[in-house]
């Protein structure tokens, strides 16, 4: 990447990413000065599009680290060559996700309060430690990979990162799993569900990034790498679909959950469409076929399947987060309910542009961090140097 053309493309991409970040920051500033009235959120749908972006990035950040774990912990050479890129993507996505989460706060300037006042019964407070710990462990892990003298410690750091990432995604799932109030959540299944979702989403982000890097360098992805990554992603996609199915089946079994299940799967307007067409079809079945049919996954097939998985992830999170809040709280079971505050009525949430820009700003931040990291350090997988298996 040393030619003049490459350099020009790098600065152009950096400029584009920088503009995206600036737009996100401007949107956050607007949300802070005008208040959250500038968004589509209200007192019923209190978490909106920024949370869809932030939770996608944080969940994918932990999942993307799997590539490094398979390499360092289980000693797979093909994955080991990809471990640095996997670590970099983890840090970048974590930073992007946290940026969105922090800037969406009602009082983002009080982030120091969040860092100095802890209620240890709060899953959110645990997550503050899980996120900062993750960043620190992955930074050390990367260091052990790049600094030759520290190489012997790489496996230990890899194991620590692997264990921590399980804790982190358990924490993210538990943000919802510990909520007794709303019918969409309050399930112990959400912790393992988020872990499995993170496998697929993280690997998808890794595959997309890797494809762009190989294309930039004019190199084809080795057939073995392509085949193994495709197989792994297919397994993750199938496992996620299975757990989502179990989540809805358990809900469909309990009489008190019937109305909610019918809402997100059949009657809820946009939400069933996003679930079936977005998550199940585009986000799971189509990529699964693309990944398991050998003729389909060669060339751009793998990256295309990964892109579909990411689209499906956004559809899933939109239904899970927004749909879960739009459905009215059941304060009076067995009663028809109405009030001036939307009791008994489905909330209508329409995202507004500052929310979208803030979310995209977080993605841009992750993009910029990845772009600069890849430019400055050797993150390109060196397959030709890999020992033959």
């Amino acid at each position: 990447m040393s030619s003049r053309d490459d350099s020009r493309s790098f600065w152009a991409l950096l400029g584009l990413g920088g503009l995206g970040m600036l737009a996100g920051l401007a949107a956050a500033h607007h949300m802070e000065t005008a208040g959250h009235i500038a968004t589509g959120m209200d007192n019923q749908v209190v978490w909106g599009l920024p949370h869809v972006f932030a939770i996608f990035m944080i969940v994918a950040a932990s999942g993307v680290l799997n590539v490094a774990s398979i390499g360092s912990v289980f000693g797979e050479a093909l994955y080991k060559k990809r471990a640095p890129l996997s670590g970099l993507l983890c840090l970048a996505m974590l930073a992007g996700g946290l940026m969105v989460l922090m800037l969406d706060l009602g009082r983002p300037e009080r982030v120091v309060v969040a860092a100095t006042h802890y209620n240890f019964k709060s899953v959110f407070a645990w997550n503050v430690f899980l996120y900062s710990g993750m960043a620190a462990i992955v930074a050390v892990y990367l260091w052990t990979m790049f600094e030759r003298r520290l190489n012997p410690w790489s496996r230990s750091a890899g194991i620590a990162a692997l264990l921590w990432r399980f804790a982190l995604t358990t924490g993210t799932g538990s943000i919802f799993g510990f909520l007794v109030a709303r019918q969409a959540y309050q399930s112990a299944l959400l912790a393992p569900l988020f872990i499995v979702l993170s496998f697929g989403w993280g690997l998808a982000v890794f595959v997309i990034t890797q494809s762009v890097m190989y294309a930039w360098n004019g190199r084809p992805l080795p057939a073995e790498a392509e085949q193994r990554l495709a197989r792994l992603l297919a397994i993750f996609v199938a496992a996620a679909l299975y757990l989502v199915l179990v989540y809805h089946l358990t809900n469909a079994y309990f009489a008190r959950q019937h109305d909610f299940t019918a809402f997100v799967l059949r009657d809820g307007g946009l939400f069933p469409v996003l679930f079936w067409a977005g998550f199940v079809l585009v986000g799971s079945l189509v990529p699964f076929v693309l990944l398991v049919v050998p003729a389909a996954r060669s060339g751009p097939g793998l990256a295309l399947a990964a892109a579909f998985v990411v689209l499906g992830a956004f559809a899933f999170l939109y239904v899970f987060i927004i749909g879960g809040q739009a459905f009215p709280l059941e304060i009076f079971p067995g009663h028809e309910v109405r009030s001036a505050f939307g009791d008994g009525a489905v909330a209508h949430y329409v995202p507004r542009w500052p929310e979208l820009l803030l979310g995209l700003g977080g993605v841009a931040a992750a993009f910029v961090a990845t772009l600069v990291g890849v430019r400055v350090l050797a993150f390109m997988p060196q397959d030709e140097l890999a020992a033959p298996k």
Binding site: E32, A34, G35, H36, I37, M41, D42, N43, Q44, V46, W47, L105, G106, R107, P108, E109, R110, V111, V112, V113, A114, A115, T116, H117, Y118, N119, K121, S122, V123, F124, A125, V128, I175, F178, L179, V180, A181, R182, Q325, L329, I331, F332, G334, H335, E336, V337, R338, S339, A340, F341, G342, D343, G344, A347, V372, V376, L377
Partner: protein
Amino acid sequence: MSRRAVLGAAVAALAGVALAPGIRLIEVARAADGADGAGGAAGPAAGKGADPKVRWGLLIDTTRCAEGCTACVDACNAENGLGTPSRPTDARWIRKVEIRELRTGRQASVPVMCQHCAEPPCVDVCPTGASFKRADGIVLVDRHSCIGCRYCMMACPYKARSFVHEPLHDQKPDVPRGKGCVESCTLCVHRIDRGEKLTACAEACSAAGHGAILFGDLNDPGSEISRRVREVRSRQLRADLNLDPGVRYEGL
């Protein structure tokens, strides 16, 4: 520029970005801590802490609550400077919910506000401890440490909390509020801490001739509310969650 230099510059810049606002914000936080006493919501005016022997609560007689009457809601809005809420983004600390039982068709009109749970989920989930329960059972939000994450609103089974979506004007000195913070019914804590024994909603309900809202100390066996709770069948909303709300309903 060498790789090492770029890395060094990046680390220095990151450290600067991370530290500079932190140092500034610690000053701000200290200043805010110093101003805590003026906040008014931290404790009774007399300087004594809230009395742990007391459990403030409400008993709402739905058989006396008139459909269409909004005296309690209007009084709460006026008392706390909430204006006239009309949109889903406006703060509502109390609301009238009209219910009709699907099986029997039986109707009732029910005022719903923060239920001041003994085991409040909003307090459990609050990352900074801004949501807290006073010794006398009143659940409040410390406006100085609320970061506006809205996790408490996700956790509340009663939709009792509101987020301040817009800049505020003409606040009541007794009821400080903050844009970007979460808030809910305080059980008129400013009145209680002045030694008054009546919330604005209960007062307005009596003035309107209904007398459907009774306020008092649930722990005092001699209080009117304790006597009524003992003698009349009442229930708590979402009793299945075992949150032990301090608000009870009669005639549901």
